[in-house]
Symmetry: C2
Subunit: 274 residues, 2 copies
Protein backbone atom coordinates (compact mmCIF):
# COMPACT_ATOMS: atom_id res chain seq x y z
CA UNK A 1 0.00 0.00 0.00
CA UNK A 2 1.22 3.48 -0.86
CA UNK A 3 0.73 6.33 1.59
CA UNK A 4 1.05 9.73 -0.07
CA UNK A 5 0.69 13.21 1.34
CA UNK A 6 0.95 15.42 -1.73
CA UNK A 7 -1.54 16.06 -4.50
CA UNK A 8 1.21 15.70 -7.09
CA UNK A 9 2.21 12.26 -5.79
CA UNK A 10 -1.32 10.89 -5.69
CA UNK A 11 -1.80 12.01 -9.30
CA UNK A 12 1.45 10.29 -10.26
CA UNK A 13 0.33 7.05 -8.61
CA UNK A 14 -2.96 7.09 -10.50
CA UNK A 15 -1.64 7.99 -13.95
CA UNK A 16 -2.87 5.24 -16.26
CA UNK A 17 -4.21 3.21 -13.33
CA UNK A 18 -7.44 2.03 -14.98
CA UNK A 19 -10.73 2.46 -13.11
CA UNK A 20 -10.40 4.22 -9.77
CA UNK A 21 -12.61 3.99 -6.69
CA UNK A 22 -12.37 6.71 -4.03
CA UNK A 23 -13.36 6.39 -0.39
CA UNK A 24 -13.20 9.83 1.24
CA UNK A 25 -12.87 9.53 5.03
CA UNK A 26 -11.88 11.58 8.03
CA UNK A 27 -9.99 8.56 9.41
CA UNK A 28 -10.55 6.78 12.71
CA UNK A 29 -11.76 3.89 10.58
CA UNK A 30 -14.44 1.41 11.58
CA UNK A 31 -16.24 -1.48 9.90
CA UNK A 32 -18.49 0.95 8.09
CA UNK A 33 -15.48 2.30 6.19
CA UNK A 34 -14.24 -1.23 5.50
CA UNK A 35 -17.61 -2.13 3.98
CA UNK A 36 -17.11 0.74 1.50
CA UNK A 37 -13.72 -0.74 0.64
CA UNK A 38 -15.17 -4.12 -0.22
CA UNK A 39 -17.66 -2.36 -2.53
CA UNK A 40 -14.79 -0.54 -4.24
CA UNK A 41 -13.18 -3.82 -5.36
CA UNK A 42 -15.16 -3.37 -8.58
CA UNK A 43 -12.44 -0.85 -9.56
CA UNK A 44 -8.87 -1.56 -10.66
CA UNK A 45 -7.50 0.70 -7.93
CA UNK A 46 -8.95 1.91 -4.63
CA UNK A 47 -7.84 5.19 -3.09
CA UNK A 48 -8.79 6.06 0.47
CA UNK A 49 -8.39 9.66 1.56
CA UNK A 50 -7.90 10.37 5.25
CA UNK A 51 -8.35 14.04 6.00
CA UNK A 52 -10.10 15.79 8.87
CA UNK A 53 -11.54 18.64 6.86
CA UNK A 54 -11.48 21.91 8.82
CA UNK A 55 -14.04 23.53 6.46
CA UNK A 56 -16.84 21.29 7.69
CA UNK A 57 -16.45 21.95 11.40
CA UNK A 58 -18.40 24.79 12.97
CA UNK A 59 -16.30 25.05 16.11
CA UNK A 60 -12.58 24.74 16.68
CA UNK A 61 -13.30 22.52 19.67
CA UNK A 62 -15.25 19.96 17.62
CA UNK A 63 -12.42 19.95 15.06
CA UNK A 64 -9.74 19.51 17.69
CA UNK A 65 -11.50 16.72 19.57
CA UNK A 66 -12.39 14.76 16.43
CA UNK A 67 -10.75 11.35 17.01
CA UNK A 68 -7.53 10.66 15.10
CA UNK A 69 -5.18 7.66 14.91
CA UNK A 70 -3.33 7.56 11.61
CA UNK A 71 -1.10 4.59 12.48
CA UNK A 72 -4.09 2.44 13.36
CA UNK A 73 -5.93 3.65 10.22
CA UNK A 74 -2.97 2.76 7.99
CA UNK A 75 -2.72 -0.72 9.53
CA UNK A 76 -6.44 -1.27 8.96
CA UNK A 77 -6.27 0.08 5.39
CA UNK A 78 -3.31 -2.19 4.59
CA UNK A 79 -5.14 -5.24 5.94
CA UNK A 80 -8.24 -4.29 3.98
CA UNK A 81 -6.32 -4.06 0.70
CA UNK A 82 -6.43 -0.32 -0.03
CA UNK A 83 -4.02 0.52 -2.87
CA UNK A 84 -3.31 4.17 -2.10
CA UNK A 85 -3.95 6.18 1.05
CA UNK A 86 -4.01 9.92 0.43
CA UNK A 87 -3.41 11.62 3.77
CA UNK A 88 -2.65 15.29 3.06
CA UNK A 89 -1.83 17.96 5.61
CA UNK A 90 -4.27 20.87 6.04
CA UNK A 91 -1.65 23.08 4.32
CA UNK A 92 -1.58 20.79 1.27
CA UNK A 93 -5.35 21.03 0.86
CA UNK A 94 -5.80 24.65 1.95
CA UNK A 95 -2.57 26.55 1.34
CA UNK A 96 -2.11 30.23 2.17
CA UNK A 97 -4.37 32.31 -0.05
CA UNK A 98 -6.98 29.59 -0.42
CA UNK A 99 -10.37 31.30 -0.91
CA UNK A 100 -12.94 29.16 -2.74
CA UNK A 101 -16.18 27.76 -1.36
CA UNK A 102 -18.56 25.50 -3.26
CA UNK A 103 -22.10 26.50 -2.30
CA UNK A 104 -24.72 23.89 -3.19
CA UNK A 105 -27.71 26.04 -2.26
CA UNK A 106 -30.81 25.08 -0.34
CA UNK A 107 -30.04 21.39 0.25
CA UNK A 108 -27.02 22.46 2.33
CA UNK A 109 -29.12 24.80 4.46
CA UNK A 110 -32.07 22.65 5.60
CA UNK A 111 -32.45 19.73 8.03
CA UNK A 112 -28.96 18.88 9.40
CA UNK A 113 -27.63 21.87 7.42
CA UNK A 114 -29.84 24.26 9.39
CA UNK A 115 -28.18 23.08 12.62
CA UNK A 116 -24.63 23.17 11.25
CA UNK A 117 -24.32 26.35 9.15
CA UNK A 118 -21.53 26.00 6.57
CA UNK A 119 -21.03 22.30 7.27
CA UNK A 120 -22.34 20.85 4.03
CA UNK A 121 -20.73 23.50 1.82
CA UNK A 122 -17.46 22.64 3.59
CA UNK A 123 -18.06 18.99 2.75
CA UNK A 124 -18.97 19.81 -0.87
CA UNK A 125 -15.84 21.93 -1.25
CA UNK A 126 -13.38 19.34 0.04
CA UNK A 127 -15.06 16.54 -1.90
CA UNK A 128 -14.96 18.61 -5.12
CA UNK A 129 -11.22 19.01 -4.50
CA UNK A 130 -10.77 15.27 -3.82
CA UNK A 131 -12.71 14.41 -6.99
CA UNK A 132 -10.48 16.73 -9.02
CA UNK A 133 -7.31 15.36 -7.44
CA UNK A 134 -8.15 11.65 -7.72
CA UNK A 135 -10.56 11.78 -10.70
CA UNK A 136 -12.33 8.63 -9.52
CA UNK A 137 -14.77 6.66 -11.65
CA UNK A 138 -16.78 5.88 -8.51
CA UNK A 139 -16.85 7.28 -4.98
CA UNK A 140 -18.32 5.47 -1.98
CA UNK A 141 -20.16 7.00 0.97
CA UNK A 142 -22.06 5.51 3.91
CA UNK A 143 -25.78 6.21 4.23
CA UNK A 144 -25.39 7.09 7.91
CA UNK A 145 -24.65 10.55 6.48
CA UNK A 146 -27.60 10.51 4.09
CA UNK A 147 -27.85 14.25 3.55
CA UNK A 148 -24.12 14.41 2.90
CA UNK A 149 -24.62 11.99 0.01
CA UNK A 150 -27.48 14.12 -1.34
CA UNK A 151 -25.29 17.24 -1.10
CA UNK A 152 -22.40 15.54 -2.89
CA UNK A 153 -24.77 14.21 -5.57
CA UNK A 154 -26.02 17.76 -6.17
CA UNK A 155 -22.50 19.21 -6.30
CA UNK A 156 -21.12 16.52 -8.62
CA UNK A 157 -24.08 16.72 -10.99
CA UNK A 158 -24.10 20.53 -11.04
CA UNK A 159 -20.36 20.81 -11.61
CA UNK A 160 -20.33 18.03 -14.24
CA UNK A 161 -17.94 15.82 -12.33
CA UNK A 162 -17.94 12.48 -14.14
CA UNK A 163 -18.08 10.30 -11.06
CA UNK A 164 -20.65 7.79 -9.91
CA UNK A 165 -21.69 8.41 -6.29
CA UNK A 166 -22.31 5.02 -4.62
CA UNK A 167 -24.43 5.12 -1.45
CA UNK A 168 -23.68 2.14 0.84
CA UNK A 169 -25.83 0.82 3.72
CA UNK A 170 -25.19 2.04 7.25
CA UNK A 171 -23.38 -0.54 9.37
CA UNK A 172 -24.75 -0.97 12.87
CA UNK A 173 -23.56 -2.42 16.17
CA UNK A 174 -25.51 -5.39 17.52
CA UNK A 175 -27.86 -3.10 19.47
CA UNK A 176 -28.59 -0.99 16.38
CA UNK A 177 -26.26 1.98 17.01
CA UNK A 178 -24.98 3.32 13.68
CA UNK A 179 -21.20 2.96 13.44
CA UNK A 180 -19.47 6.33 13.66
CA UNK A 181 -16.02 7.55 14.57
CA UNK A 182 -17.67 9.82 17.13
CA UNK A 183 -19.00 6.80 19.13
CA UNK A 184 -15.58 6.58 20.77
CA UNK A 185 -16.51 9.69 22.77
CA UNK A 186 -19.34 7.81 24.56
CA UNK A 187 -18.72 6.46 28.06
CA UNK A 188 -20.18 2.98 28.80
CA UNK A 189 -23.50 4.33 30.09
CA UNK A 190 -23.86 6.74 27.20
CA UNK A 191 -22.92 3.97 24.79
CA UNK A 192 -25.87 1.93 26.05
CA UNK A 193 -28.19 4.93 25.92
CA UNK A 194 -27.11 5.78 22.35
CA UNK A 195 -29.00 2.79 21.00
CA UNK A 196 -32.19 4.81 21.53
CA UNK A 197 -31.62 6.71 18.24
CA UNK A 198 -31.89 3.62 16.06
CA UNK A 199 -34.61 2.09 18.24
CA UNK A 200 -36.66 5.26 17.81
CA UNK A 201 -36.04 5.34 14.05
CA UNK A 202 -37.04 1.71 13.66
CA UNK A 203 -40.24 2.40 15.62
CA UNK A 204 -40.94 5.28 13.23
CA UNK A 205 -40.38 2.99 10.27
CA UNK A 206 -42.72 0.40 11.81
CA UNK A 207 -45.41 3.08 12.18
CA UNK A 208 -45.11 4.01 8.49
CA UNK A 209 -45.23 0.37 7.51
CA UNK A 210 -48.37 0.02 9.63
CA UNK A 211 -50.01 2.80 7.61
CA UNK A 212 -49.11 6.09 9.33
CA UNK A 213 -48.80 8.73 6.58
CA UNK A 214 -48.36 11.94 8.58
CA UNK A 215 -44.76 13.19 8.71
CA UNK A 216 -45.33 15.03 11.98
CA UNK A 217 -47.02 12.00 13.59
CA UNK A 218 -44.04 9.80 12.65
CA UNK A 219 -41.63 12.43 13.95
CA UNK A 220 -43.65 12.57 17.16
CA UNK A 221 -43.37 8.83 17.66
CA UNK A 222 -39.60 8.87 17.10
CA UNK A 223 -39.03 11.93 19.27
CA UNK A 224 -41.19 10.52 22.04
CA UNK A 225 -39.03 7.44 22.33
CA UNK A 226 -35.81 9.48 22.49
CA UNK A 227 -37.30 11.67 25.24
CA UNK A 228 -37.69 8.59 27.45
CA UNK A 229 -33.92 8.09 27.49
CA UNK A 230 -32.56 10.27 30.29
CA UNK A 231 -29.02 10.49 28.88
CA UNK A 232 -30.24 11.59 25.42
CA UNK A 233 -31.35 15.06 24.36
CA UNK A 234 -33.18 15.26 21.05
CA UNK A 235 -31.90 17.91 18.63
CA UNK A 236 -34.42 17.24 15.85
CA UNK A 237 -36.29 14.50 14.06
CA UNK A 238 -37.70 15.11 10.59
CA UNK A 239 -39.37 13.07 7.86
CA UNK A 240 -37.82 14.27 4.61
CA UNK A 241 -37.67 13.60 0.88
CA UNK A 242 -34.57 11.42 0.36
CA UNK A 243 -33.32 13.53 -2.60
CA UNK A 244 -34.21 17.13 -1.69
CA UNK A 245 -34.28 16.74 2.13
CA UNK A 246 -37.38 18.93 2.20
CA UNK A 247 -39.73 17.97 5.07
CA UNK A 248 -42.74 15.88 4.08
CA UNK A 249 -46.16 16.65 5.55
CA UNK A 250 -47.51 13.39 4.26
CA UNK A 251 -45.62 10.28 3.22
CA UNK A 252 -46.65 9.17 -0.26
CA UNK A 253 -43.57 7.62 -1.89
CA UNK A 254 -40.05 7.30 -0.56
CA UNK A 255 -39.11 9.10 2.63
CA UNK A 256 -36.25 9.21 5.09
CA UNK A 257 -36.56 9.72 8.84
CA UNK A 258 -33.55 11.72 10.03
CA UNK A 259 -32.54 12.31 13.61
CA UNK A 260 -29.87 14.12 15.61
CA UNK A 261 -29.49 13.86 19.36
CA UNK A 262 -26.93 14.54 22.02
CA UNK A 263 -25.96 11.60 24.20
CA UNK A 264 -24.02 13.16 27.03
CA UNK A 265 -22.00 15.81 25.17
CA UNK A 266 -21.65 13.77 21.97
CA UNK A 267 -23.90 14.69 19.08
CA UNK A 268 -24.99 11.67 17.01
CA UNK A 269 -27.02 11.46 13.81
CA UNK A 270 -28.81 8.57 12.15
CA UNK A 271 -31.55 7.89 9.61
CA UNK A 272 -33.71 5.18 8.06
CA UNK A 273 -35.45 4.98 4.72
CA UNK A 274 -39.15 4.16 4.80
CA UNK B 1 -15.27 20.70 -37.46
CA UNK B 2 -17.72 19.08 -35.07
CA UNK B 3 -20.45 21.15 -33.47
CA UNK B 4 -21.91 19.49 -30.39
CA UNK B 5 -24.60 20.65 -27.99
CA UNK B 6 -24.56 17.97 -25.31
CA UNK B 7 -22.08 17.33 -22.52
CA UNK B 8 -22.14 13.62 -23.28
CA UNK B 9 -21.24 14.19 -26.95
CA UNK B 10 -18.36 16.55 -26.22
CA UNK B 11 -16.92 13.96 -23.81
CA UNK B 12 -17.29 11.27 -26.48
CA UNK B 13 -15.45 13.42 -29.03
CA UNK B 14 -12.56 14.01 -26.62
CA UNK B 15 -12.13 10.45 -25.35
CA UNK B 16 -8.50 9.57 -26.04
CA UNK B 17 -7.94 12.79 -27.98
CA UNK B 18 -4.45 13.59 -26.66
CA UNK B 19 -3.75 17.06 -25.31
CA UNK B 20 -6.75 19.37 -25.31
CA UNK B 21 -6.89 23.16 -25.47
CA UNK B 22 -10.09 24.94 -24.44
CA UNK B 23 -11.18 28.42 -25.48
CA UNK B 24 -14.25 29.41 -23.47
CA UNK B 25 -16.21 32.18 -25.24
CA UNK B 26 -19.62 33.80 -25.22
CA UNK B 27 -19.54 33.84 -29.04
CA UNK B 28 -19.81 36.86 -31.35
CA UNK B 29 -16.22 36.10 -32.20
CA UNK B 30 -13.60 38.67 -33.11
CA UNK B 31 -9.89 38.66 -33.86
CA UNK B 32 -9.13 38.51 -30.15
CA UNK B 33 -10.77 35.08 -29.95
CA UNK B 34 -8.94 33.95 -33.08
CA UNK B 35 -5.62 34.92 -31.53
CA UNK B 36 -6.41 32.53 -28.65
CA UNK B 37 -7.04 29.82 -31.24
CA UNK B 38 -3.66 30.22 -32.79
CA UNK B 39 -2.09 29.89 -29.34
CA UNK B 40 -4.03 26.67 -28.76
CA UNK B 41 -2.38 24.96 -31.73
CA UNK B 42 0.18 23.65 -29.22
CA UNK B 43 -2.49 21.07 -28.30
CA UNK B 44 -3.59 18.02 -30.29
CA UNK B 45 -7.20 19.17 -30.22
CA UNK B 46 -8.80 22.57 -29.71
CA UNK B 47 -12.29 22.93 -28.27
CA UNK B 48 -14.11 26.26 -28.39
CA UNK B 49 -17.14 26.67 -26.18
CA UNK B 50 -19.77 29.21 -27.20
CA UNK B 51 -22.18 29.89 -24.39
CA UNK B 52 -23.70 33.14 -23.17
CA UNK B 53 -23.62 32.31 -19.47
CA UNK B 54 -26.71 33.63 -17.67
CA UNK B 55 -25.01 33.32 -14.23
CA UNK B 56 -22.58 36.13 -14.99
CA UNK B 57 -25.13 38.76 -16.01
CA UNK B 58 -26.56 41.04 -13.36
CA UNK B 59 -29.58 42.18 -15.39
CA UNK B 60 -31.86 40.30 -17.73
CA UNK B 61 -31.58 43.20 -20.17
CA UNK B 62 -27.79 42.94 -20.42
CA UNK B 63 -28.14 39.17 -20.95
CA UNK B 64 -30.79 39.58 -23.62
CA UNK B 65 -28.99 42.28 -25.58
CA UNK B 66 -25.60 40.48 -25.53
CA UNK B 67 -24.75 40.09 -29.24
CA UNK B 68 -25.23 36.62 -30.72
CA UNK B 69 -24.66 35.16 -34.21
CA UNK B 70 -23.96 31.44 -34.02
CA UNK B 71 -23.89 30.88 -37.80
CA UNK B 72 -21.24 33.55 -38.25
CA UNK B 73 -19.30 32.17 -35.24
CA UNK B 74 -19.34 28.64 -36.65
CA UNK B 75 -18.11 29.86 -40.04
CA UNK B 76 -15.27 31.78 -38.34
CA UNK B 77 -14.39 28.81 -36.11
CA UNK B 78 -14.30 26.46 -39.11
CA UNK B 79 -12.03 28.82 -41.04
CA UNK B 80 -9.77 29.16 -38.01
CA UNK B 81 -9.36 25.40 -37.63
CA UNK B 82 -11.26 24.71 -34.40
CA UNK B 83 -11.74 20.95 -33.95
CA UNK B 84 -14.84 20.92 -31.75
CA UNK B 85 -17.32 23.67 -30.98
CA UNK B 86 -19.31 23.03 -27.81
CA UNK B 87 -22.45 25.19 -28.00
CA UNK B 88 -24.81 23.97 -25.28
CA UNK B 89 -28.28 25.31 -24.53
CA UNK B 90 -28.87 27.02 -21.17
CA UNK B 91 -30.91 23.94 -20.16
CA UNK B 92 -27.96 21.64 -20.90
CA UNK B 93 -25.70 23.66 -18.63
CA UNK B 94 -28.24 24.60 -15.97
CA UNK B 95 -31.02 22.01 -15.92
CA UNK B 96 -34.03 22.19 -13.60
CA UNK B 97 -32.85 21.76 -10.03
CA UNK B 98 -29.40 23.24 -10.65
CA UNK B 99 -28.24 24.90 -7.41
CA UNK B 100 -24.45 25.18 -7.11
CA UNK B 101 -22.37 28.36 -7.04
CA UNK B 102 -18.57 28.47 -6.90
CA UNK B 103 -17.61 31.39 -4.65
CA UNK B 104 -13.98 32.46 -5.02
CA UNK B 105 -14.04 34.94 -2.14
CA UNK B 106 -12.60 38.42 -2.01
CA UNK B 107 -11.07 38.59 -5.48
CA UNK B 108 -14.58 38.26 -6.94
CA UNK B 109 -15.89 41.13 -4.82
CA UNK B 110 -13.42 43.95 -5.40
CA UNK B 111 -12.59 46.23 -8.35
CA UNK B 112 -14.83 45.19 -11.30
CA UNK B 113 -16.45 42.64 -8.94
CA UNK B 114 -17.66 45.44 -6.64
CA UNK B 115 -19.56 46.99 -9.57
CA UNK B 116 -21.01 43.70 -10.83
CA UNK B 117 -22.10 41.69 -7.75
CA UNK B 118 -22.20 37.97 -8.51
CA UNK B 119 -20.54 38.39 -11.91
CA UNK B 120 -17.19 36.74 -11.21
CA UNK B 121 -18.66 33.89 -9.16
CA UNK B 122 -20.95 33.28 -12.14
CA UNK B 123 -17.88 33.18 -14.38
CA UNK B 124 -16.01 30.88 -11.98
CA UNK B 125 -18.98 28.52 -11.79
CA UNK B 126 -19.47 28.12 -15.52
CA UNK B 127 -15.73 27.80 -16.16
CA UNK B 128 -15.45 25.12 -13.44
CA UNK B 129 -18.20 23.25 -15.27
CA UNK B 130 -16.49 23.68 -18.65
CA UNK B 131 -13.19 22.48 -17.18
CA UNK B 132 -14.90 19.38 -15.79
CA UNK B 133 -16.72 18.70 -19.06
CA UNK B 134 -13.77 19.20 -21.41
CA UNK B 135 -10.91 18.36 -19.00
CA UNK B 136 -8.49 20.55 -20.98
CA UNK B 137 -4.74 20.52 -20.50
CA UNK B 138 -4.68 24.26 -21.22
CA UNK B 139 -7.32 26.98 -21.34
CA UNK B 140 -6.87 30.34 -23.09
CA UNK B 141 -8.25 33.70 -22.02
CA UNK B 142 -7.73 37.25 -23.27
CA UNK B 143 -6.14 39.81 -20.95
CA UNK B 144 -8.81 42.39 -21.78
CA UNK B 145 -10.66 40.64 -18.94
CA UNK B 146 -7.68 40.61 -16.60
CA UNK B 147 -9.59 40.17 -13.36
CA UNK B 148 -11.54 37.31 -14.91
CA UNK B 149 -8.25 35.49 -15.49
CA UNK B 150 -7.20 36.11 -11.88
CA UNK B 151 -10.55 34.78 -10.66
CA UNK B 152 -10.28 31.66 -12.82
CA UNK B 153 -6.69 31.12 -11.67
CA UNK B 154 -7.85 31.26 -8.05
CA UNK B 155 -10.76 28.88 -8.68
CA UNK B 156 -8.70 26.36 -10.66
CA UNK B 157 -5.89 26.36 -8.11
CA UNK B 158 -8.22 26.14 -5.11
CA UNK B 159 -10.31 23.33 -6.61
CA UNK B 160 -7.23 21.42 -7.84
CA UNK B 161 -8.23 21.53 -11.48
CA UNK B 162 -5.24 20.26 -13.42
CA UNK B 163 -5.35 22.86 -16.18
CA UNK B 164 -2.86 25.50 -17.22
CA UNK B 165 -4.49 28.94 -17.52
CA UNK B 166 -2.89 30.79 -20.43
CA UNK B 167 -3.32 34.58 -20.43
CA UNK B 168 -3.09 36.05 -23.95
CA UNK B 169 -2.49 39.70 -24.93
CA UNK B 170 -5.43 42.00 -25.59
CA UNK B 171 -5.98 42.63 -29.29
CA UNK B 172 -6.71 46.25 -30.19
CA UNK B 173 -8.21 48.14 -33.11
CA UNK B 174 -5.88 50.57 -34.91
CA UNK B 175 -6.95 53.45 -32.61
CA UNK B 176 -6.25 51.37 -29.50
CA UNK B 177 -9.79 50.25 -28.62
CA UNK B 178 -9.66 46.80 -27.02
CA UNK B 179 -11.54 44.27 -29.13
CA UNK B 180 -14.78 43.20 -27.48
CA UNK B 181 -18.03 41.67 -28.62
CA UNK B 182 -19.80 44.59 -26.95
CA UNK B 183 -18.15 47.12 -29.32
CA UNK B 184 -20.87 46.27 -31.84
CA UNK B 185 -23.31 48.27 -29.67
CA UNK B 186 -21.39 51.51 -30.33
CA UNK B 187 -22.72 53.91 -32.96
CA UNK B 188 -20.08 55.59 -35.20
CA UNK B 189 -19.64 58.61 -32.91
CA UNK B 190 -19.43 56.45 -29.79
CA UNK B 191 -17.01 54.12 -31.57
CA UNK B 192 -14.66 57.06 -32.11
CA UNK B 193 -15.09 58.26 -28.54
CA UNK B 194 -14.41 54.76 -27.14
CA UNK B 195 -10.74 55.06 -28.03
CA UNK B 196 -10.41 57.34 -25.00
CA UNK B 197 -10.23 54.34 -22.64
CA UNK B 198 -7.02 52.96 -24.10
CA UNK B 199 -5.60 56.46 -24.69
CA UNK B 200 -6.12 57.24 -21.03
CA UNK B 201 -4.62 53.90 -19.91
CA UNK B 202 -1.55 54.43 -22.10
CA UNK B 203 -1.10 57.91 -20.63
CA UNK B 204 -1.26 56.37 -17.16
CA UNK B 205 1.35 53.81 -18.16
CA UNK B 206 3.54 56.61 -19.54
CA UNK B 207 3.28 58.41 -16.21
CA UNK B 208 4.42 55.33 -14.31
CA UNK B 209 7.27 54.83 -16.74
CA UNK B 210 8.23 58.47 -16.17
CA UNK B 211 8.49 57.79 -12.43
CA UNK B 212 5.03 58.38 -10.94
CA UNK B 213 4.61 55.92 -8.04
CA UNK B 214 1.33 57.04 -6.49
CA UNK B 215 -1.63 54.83 -7.39
CA UNK B 216 -4.14 57.62 -6.86
CA UNK B 217 -2.08 60.07 -8.94
CA UNK B 218 -1.97 57.62 -11.85
CA UNK B 219 -5.71 56.97 -11.48
CA UNK B 220 -6.24 60.73 -11.50
CA UNK B 221 -4.34 61.13 -14.76
CA UNK B 222 -6.29 58.35 -16.45
CA UNK B 223 -9.64 59.52 -15.13
CA UNK B 224 -8.93 63.12 -16.12
CA UNK B 225 -8.43 62.12 -19.75
CA UNK B 226 -11.67 60.14 -19.85
CA UNK B 227 -13.57 63.09 -18.39
CA UNK B 228 -12.56 65.21 -21.38
CA UNK B 229 -14.50 62.91 -23.71
CA UNK B 230 -18.10 64.14 -23.72
CA UNK B 231 -19.59 60.80 -24.85
CA UNK B 232 -17.77 58.84 -22.12
CA UNK B 233 -18.72 58.52 -18.45
CA UNK B 234 -16.09 57.08 -16.15
CA UNK B 235 -17.25 54.26 -13.87
CA UNK B 236 -13.91 53.69 -12.14
CA UNK B 237 -10.18 53.63 -12.64
CA UNK B 238 -7.94 51.77 -10.20
CA UNK B 239 -4.30 50.79 -9.95
CA UNK B 240 -4.27 47.23 -8.64
CA UNK B 241 -2.05 44.27 -7.89
CA UNK B 242 -2.22 42.02 -10.98
CA UNK B 243 -2.76 38.84 -8.91
CA UNK B 244 -4.95 39.92 -5.97
CA UNK B 245 -6.63 42.94 -7.63
CA UNK B 246 -6.21 44.82 -4.35
CA UNK B 247 -5.71 48.58 -4.92
CA UNK B 248 -2.14 49.82 -4.66
CA UNK B 249 -1.35 53.05 -2.84
CA UNK B 250 2.14 53.07 -4.24
CA UNK B 251 3.52 51.23 -7.25
CA UNK B 252 6.59 49.21 -6.33
CA UNK B 253 6.58 46.11 -8.52
CA UNK B 254 4.03 44.95 -11.04
CA UNK B 255 0.72 46.75 -11.30
CA UNK B 256 -2.30 46.87 -13.56
CA UNK B 257 -4.37 49.95 -14.35
CA UNK B 258 -7.99 48.90 -14.76
CA UNK B 259 -10.79 51.03 -16.11
CA UNK B 260 -14.51 50.82 -16.78
CA UNK B 261 -16.50 53.52 -18.55
CA UNK B 262 -19.80 53.94 -20.27
CA UNK B 263 -19.66 55.18 -23.84
CA UNK B 264 -23.25 56.06 -24.63
CA UNK B 265 -25.13 53.24 -22.93
CA UNK B 266 -22.42 50.64 -23.55
CA UNK B 267 -20.16 49.76 -20.65
CA UNK B 268 -16.58 48.99 -21.69
CA UNK B 269 -13.61 47.76 -19.67
CA UNK B 270 -9.90 47.74 -20.42
CA UNK B 271 -6.56 47.52 -18.62
CA UNK B 272 -2.79 47.80 -19.08
CA UNK B 273 0.07 46.29 -17.13
CA UNK B 274 2.71 48.71 -15.89
Amino acid sequence: MNVVESIEEVRKHLDGAGSVGLIPTMGYLHEGHLSLLSRSRENDVTVMSIFVNPLQFGSTQDLETYPRDLDRDLAMATDAGVDVVFAPTPEEMFPRGYATNVDVGRIAEISEGARRPGHFNGVATVVAKLFNIVRPDRAYFGKKDAQQIAVIDQMAKDLDLAVEIVACPTLRESDGLAMSSRNVHLDPQERQAAAVLSKALFAGRDAVEAGERSGSAVAGIVGGIVKHEALARLDYVEVVDPVSFEQLDSIAGQATIVIAAFVGSTRLIDNVDV
